[in-house]
């Protein structure tokens, strides 16, 4: 069983790793660990998209054809990478080991870093442990996502030989036909490998996604703020109870939050001139859309922000059109899903969402009260506006990176205030924190950018006291 699970996870990871490595080419700054963290969510996304396409073509969802395709692709990508001499094993060193063991590092720093590393590691291990203990129990997991997965797994198909209204098993069970299939197909993938729909083992994808997201976020933050501060931020990030909770279940909010954060991180790299990251940002944005429909309200502003950035830059090499195209081309992978969905009159989001409009401006106050309550999340969200004030005038890359996140949050506030359906769900406390969770890692990423800037702006004391005069005279900086 263990070996089978390793293959079930290893194959998409290998595919994702090779895809990332080919896209990044000779980028030496992105180490092996960082690539591995991107590999799992990316590879799994590519696998489920292909499962959907095979399902459309009525190819039975059995292990043979489903696994053969990514295996062949991985082999092909490996051959291509070798042929182009793309480095597949760049350095893995993150500097943490040296910080923990090197006697040249002050003992207090060594102790704090060791403690924080252990804390984060134990926390992630406990999420894996908790996942392995409980079978699927949370309402939205089994009622929306796993019910579809179970149906597809047992039927060995996407149940498309039915009237369009009953596609994806809608006629057989109470589920939403318009929801993207990434999550259920991930569960089908694991089930195909283990040979049954196991209510515990199918959940393994969630803690894995959380781990990849956490390590990747740490590596991003370490570049910005240094390793010690990044570890502190990581422990604070992982200390958000709703995040750990979702790490043990199969809601789509965590995979979406990961895809959005990976996309945003790649976007930041691209904004800073690492051109190879444009398609990576595009691929993760496409996978976000394949995970949940609301991500469109993150991805579209991201595209707009990218367009403005690219337009504002001088015409260098590669040209503006090439840069923007390399961001856009990856979206081709989700065109079949949307073409299918809209050609069969499936809408966006849950089928039960009513179109009735209302106006509840008091929602803004309630949103603020929820944020100040510190429920569900650690203080990182609360500190974002404070850090923004302390950081002073933000630089252009930060503004471009913040734009999609702000638009995404405004979109949610808008639907709470103006639609009867979401207003009601907001009032009963069922949507706010979950929706915020999808933006939470991206907000932490912005936090890290701001922490760096705040530290830079307050790095130097005003003046050192003069030893000769005996009385300190303040020098103007």
């Amino acid at each position: 069983m263990m070996l089978v699970l390793v293959i079930a996870i290893g194959l998409p990871t290998a595919l994702g790793y090779l895809a990332v490595s080919l896209l990044l080419g000779d980028d030496r700054e992105t180490g092996m660990l960082e690539r591995l963290c991107m590999a799992w969510p990316l590879g799994m996304g590519l696998v489920t998209i292909q499962m959907f396409l095979l399902g459309l073509l009525r190819v039975p969802l059995t292990l043979g054809p489903i696994a053969a395709l990514p295996a062949l692709e991985a082999a092909g990508l490996f051959w291509w990478a070798r042929r182009r001499r793309v480095p597949l094993a760049p350095g893995i060193a993150s500097g943490l080991w040296r910080d923990c063991t090197d006697r040249g590092v002050p003992w207090a720093r060594r102790a704090v870093i060791t403690l924080l590393v252990l804390w984060a590691a134990v926390k992630l291990a406990s999420v894996f442990l908790e996942t392995s203990l409980r079978p699927i129990w949370a309402w939205d997991t089994w009622a929306n996502w796993s019910v579809g997965a179970k149906l597809f797994y047992h039927a060995k198909s996407l149940l498309l030989d039915a009237p369009a209204g009953d596609f994806f098993g809608v006629g057989a069970v109470s589920r939403f036909g318009s929801y993207p299939l990434h999550n259920p197909l991930m569960q089908v993938w694991i089930s195909l490998w283990i040979g049954s729909f196991d209510e515990v083992l199918v959940k393994l994808t969630s803690p894995l996604t959380l781990s990849c997201l956490s390590v990747s976020l740490y590596l991003f933050m370490a570049r910005e703020t240094g390793r010690l501060a990044a570890l502190g931020l990581l422990v604070i990030f992982l200390g958000s109870p709703l995040l750990s909770y979702h790490g043990t279940e199969l809601y789509s909010d965590l995979p979406l939050s990961a895809a959005l954060a990976f996309s945003l991180a790649a976007f930041v790299h691209a904004l800073r001139g690492r051109e190879r990251y444009w398609p990576v940002a595009g691929l993760f944005a496409a996978i976000a859309i394949w995970t949940k429909d609301e991500s469109l309200f993150f991805v579209l502003p991201l595209l707009l922000s990218a367009a403005v950035h690219i337009r504002g830059e001088g015409a260098g090499r590669p040209g503006r059109a090439v840069r923007f195209a390399s961001l856009l081309v990856p979206f081709a992978v989700i065109v079949p899903w949307y073409a299918f969905k809209f050609s069969h009159t499936f809408g966006l989001g849950a089928d039960v969402v009513s179109q009735k409009f209302v106006f509840h401006p008091e929602i803004v106050g309630n949103v603020l009260a929820n944020l100040l309550s510190l429920d569900s999340f650690n203080v990182l969200i609360l500190f974002l506006p404070l850090l923004l004030l302390a950081a002073g005038r933000p630089d252009r890359p930060f503004l471009h990176a913040a734009f999609p996140v702000v638009c995404y949050l405004l979109f949610f506030t808008f639907v709470y205030a103006f639609t009867a359906f979401y207003y009601q769900h907001f009032s009963t406390g069922t949507v706010f924190f979950r929706n915020l969770l999808t933006a939470y890692p991206s907000l932490c990423l912005l936090d890290a950018l701001l922490v760096k800037r705040v530290r830079e702006r307050s790095a130097v004391p005003a003046a050192a006291p003069s030893r000769t005069s005996g009385k300190g005279t303040k020098k103007k900086r």
Binding site: W119, K123, S126, L129, E130, L133, R134, P135, W137, A138, W139, W142, A143, S146, V147, L151, H154, A172, V173, S174, D198, E199, V200, A229, G232, L233, V235, I236, L238, G239, S240, P241, Y245, H246, E249, Y251, S373, L374, D375, S376, N378, V379, L380, F383, L386, A390, G429, T430, V431, F432, V451, V454, R457, S458, V460, P461, A462, A463, A464, G472
Partner: protein, 195 residues
């Protein structure tokens, strides 16, 4: 220990059938805000003493508050988390998946297990409770619900009536004759099927 300290130091394990929000107690919230304020003040004082300009010291104070309050929050949240993990380790540790489901859903899963052995194929399911309805539907998969199914499953539905003498099942306008009992789990949980 009084209410405040109990709330602060002994958070209850997380629980619930859905995961939309994890509440924190007023005591914990107060403590985090208090530490935030104290850390900011301490940071400001220390960095002013180190001859930082006021703006610089304020910035450093904000960073100090972020890390102090964040670490405190994480300490408490992870303690609550560990209680939940320990509780689940006691409840589910070492059990096979079937037994875990039995622990989780209790009588409902026991009913479903028995139903799986007797329901020949498609079924019709009646329950006024949405959780029971959907959860049973989910647990019974790959058996599927179908409006024309010959087998009827009833779970705590006061509208459903089965007359074993006349072998008639009625629910509202629906009247099915020639229905034989297949499983009687309890007074309000049973399965009947067309003979």
């Amino acid at each position: 220990m009084d209410g405040f300290w109990q709330q602060l130091l002994l958070p209850p394990p997380i629980s619930g059938v859905t995961i939309n929000t994890v509440w924190i107690s007023p005591a914990a919230r107060t403590a985090v805000y208090a530490v935030m304020a104290a850390a900011f003040a301490a940071g400001l004082f220390v960095f002013l003493a180190k001859r930082y300009r006021l703006a610089g010291a304020v910035r450093r104070g904000i960073l100090t508050a972020l890390f102090a309050a964040g670490i405190l929050y994480s300490l408490r949240a992870d303690f609550g988390w560990s209680l939940w993990v320990r509780q689940d380790l006691r409840t589910f540790g070492g059990l096979p998946t079937e037994e875990k489901l039995l622990k989780l859903d209790g009588a409902l899963y026991d009913f479903v297990r028995r139903a799986r052995t007797v329901v020949p194929g498609d079924y019709l399911l009646f329950s006024p409770d949405q959780y029971l309805l959907w959860r049973t539907e989910y647990l019974l998969l790959p058996l599927r619900k179908r409006t024309s199914a010959p087998t009827v499953i009833v779970l705590a539905d006061p509208q459903a009536v089965y007359d074993p003498q006349k072998k008639v099942f009625t629910r509202g306008d629906l009247r099915l004759e020639g229905m034989a009992p297949l499983l009687q789990y309890g007074p309000d949980a049973y399965i009947v099927t067309r003979q």
